[in-house]
């Protein structure tokens, strides 16, 4: 069964086609990602799913209901984690969970014990009576995610869940999200981090300028749009571009970035050896597995994070 069915979904602001005829489906229990740079239309798509942004055209069903005409019904089955934490800074961590839960028509007798469980989930039990202002960025983010779970949603919408967090905090969050997915919660994640998309998502839409440029699992996308390995070479910023033509024959394709050259090939070490044998001496070199970053670069000619 589909949790979300979007057909030709379009949102036009006065001067911008933020989302342009996007169609996709998300199945129950799936972990689905929208990957793209800032301004690709990911957040707008998320807000249309919650019925808080009215679409210009197209159809959209969430759990079989149109969020524009059945907003409360749709949102009662959703947990929304917005891009920026909008916690109530006047309240402490526990009251943030309880008061938010009230907006789902849930009684205090349910919310009080639920808040304790969620604080435990967010590893914030010791901070229950702490005002939100006194929590670190990672704690606030975890509290925002815990808050989104207060109504036991079947679908969790996460807009850039780990932006601004340090690596350790990100890994803790990914672990928590993965556990929720194991329990059958459908995750819909927007991100401009390829590692996050690879970690969290079964299936991805790659978006750019409001349109879908590719769709598939992270592994399938990499296989389809990239080679197995990538050789990164740095010759110094002035020489990089000059050497593109000379290296053309060495790899399946080459992308020139301002600071380095990316050579796409099945066997990075072999190409590196040939480059060296040819008398070209890169300042640094790196052989790595291809990633979604490479897929995006190949599809759009731009990197994800400008």
């Amino acid at each position: 069964m589909s949790v979300i069915e979007a057909t030709q979904l379009t949102k036009v602001y006065s001067d911008l086609r933020a989302v342009d005829a996007v169609s996709f489906r998300v199945a129950t229990g799936e972990s689905f990602g929208l990957l793209g740079p800032n301004g690709a239309g990911k957040s707008t798509t998320m807000r249309m799913i919650g019925g808080t942004s009215l679409r210009t055209s197209g159809t959209l069903l969430v759990n079989g209901l149109d969020p524009e005409t059945h907003g409360p019904e749709v949102r009662a089955s959703l947990g929304v984690v917005p891009q920026t934490d909008n916690l109530d800074t006047e309240l402490n961590a526990r009251d943030n969970l309880i008061m938010y839960g009230r907006y789902f028509g849930l009684p205090y007798s349910y919310l009080r014990p639920k808040a304790e469980e969620l604080l435990q989930f967010a590893q914030l039990s010791e901070k229950a009576t702490e005002k939100v202002d006194n929590l670190s960025g990672g704690m606030k983010r975890r509290l925002t995610i815990a808050r989104a779970l207060v109504n036991e949603p079947s679908v969790l919408l996460l807009d850039e869940p780990t932006t601004g967090l340090d690596p350790q905090a990100r890994h803790i969050l990914w672990d928590r999200l993965f556990r929720l997915k194991e329990q059958g919660v459908t995750l819909i994640v927007t991100t401009h981090f390829m590692d996050e998309a690879e970690q969290l998502c079964d299936r991805l839409l790659v978006m750019d300028h409001g349109q879908i440029v590719a769709e598939g699992s992270p592994a399938a996308l990499i296989q389809q749009y990239s080679t197995r390995e990538v050789l990164e070479l740095r010759f110094g910023s002035d020489r990089n571009v000059a050497l593109v033509e000379r290296l053309r024959g060495y790899a399946d394709s080459i992308e020139a970035l301002p600071d380095r050259l990316l050579l796409y090939t099945a066997d990075g070490e072999a190409v590196l050896a040939r480059v060296r044998a040819d008398g070209l001496d890169p300042v640094t070199s790196l052989v790595r597995r291809a990633s979604l970053e490479d897929v995006f670069l190949r599809l759009t000619g731009r990197s994800l994070i400008d």
């Binding site: 929304v80 917005p82 909008n86 800074t89 907006y103």
Partner: protein, 289 residues
Amino acid sequence: MTEGVDPVGLDFNALAYSGRALGSARQAQNVHRWGWWYQAEWRLLGMKAYWTSILGSAVLTPLLYVLAMGIGLGALVDSSSGGVEGVPYLTFVAPGLLVATVVMSSVNELTFPVMGGFKWQKLYFARAATAATPSQVAVGELLAVGVRMVAEAALFWVVLVALGAVDPRWSWLMIGIAALAGMAFGAPLASYSATLEDEGFEFSMIQRFVVMPMFLFAGTFYPLATMPLYLQWIGWISPMWHGTQLARAVAFGLPLTNGEVAMHLGFLVILLAVGIALTVRNFTRRLNR
């Protein structure tokens, strides 16, 4: 370690679907009925943070005014002219001060807090992501401020009675009148606050060029009729004057015709209704972009 159980002993199955939460259809049903109240409940809870200032304005303001106006200015007015509208100056001015104080507190509640809900803390956007609707959020905000006004007016009235400034028999009706006047000014103001995108310097303009002139020229301190006609219009268009006239009628029997009562009440009710409608519209527009 059992599958699905966290090292800290938390059952993740129970977290996602404990079976204790109401189903989403029931949640939505409750919110359809009570969503406006959840917002009011939250806003009133937030007022706990500054309840001392609410109490202060409700208790200290009448105390100070009665001392200054009743004993100071009042003595002068009464000795030179024998009072105003046939009553001692304190009796005349007390209902006006009650209404003016309540109207002015609507400015505190419905300017920066409303703009901040969209702009700074963005709490309204958090509400919009719940099962509640933007119109419920708008109505709940106004309702909570209305509750505050009733409480503030009631305390103010108790102090006035204790000080002997008003006769308690009918004057308790001023509580409702003051709250109505406060919301008749506050609701349109809230609808305007909901449209602001910048840092709200407009509010100091409103304070200076709307609230202050209203306080000084809407017949709070003297009958409006003593002003030249070219200044009286300030009173006619201000909720403060309409509220004050009604408050004087119930407090000391200022003679009003039935037509005048209907006009004052009608003005306030229409302004309130328009204000509520515009606030609902502007909240919905901004939260549904």
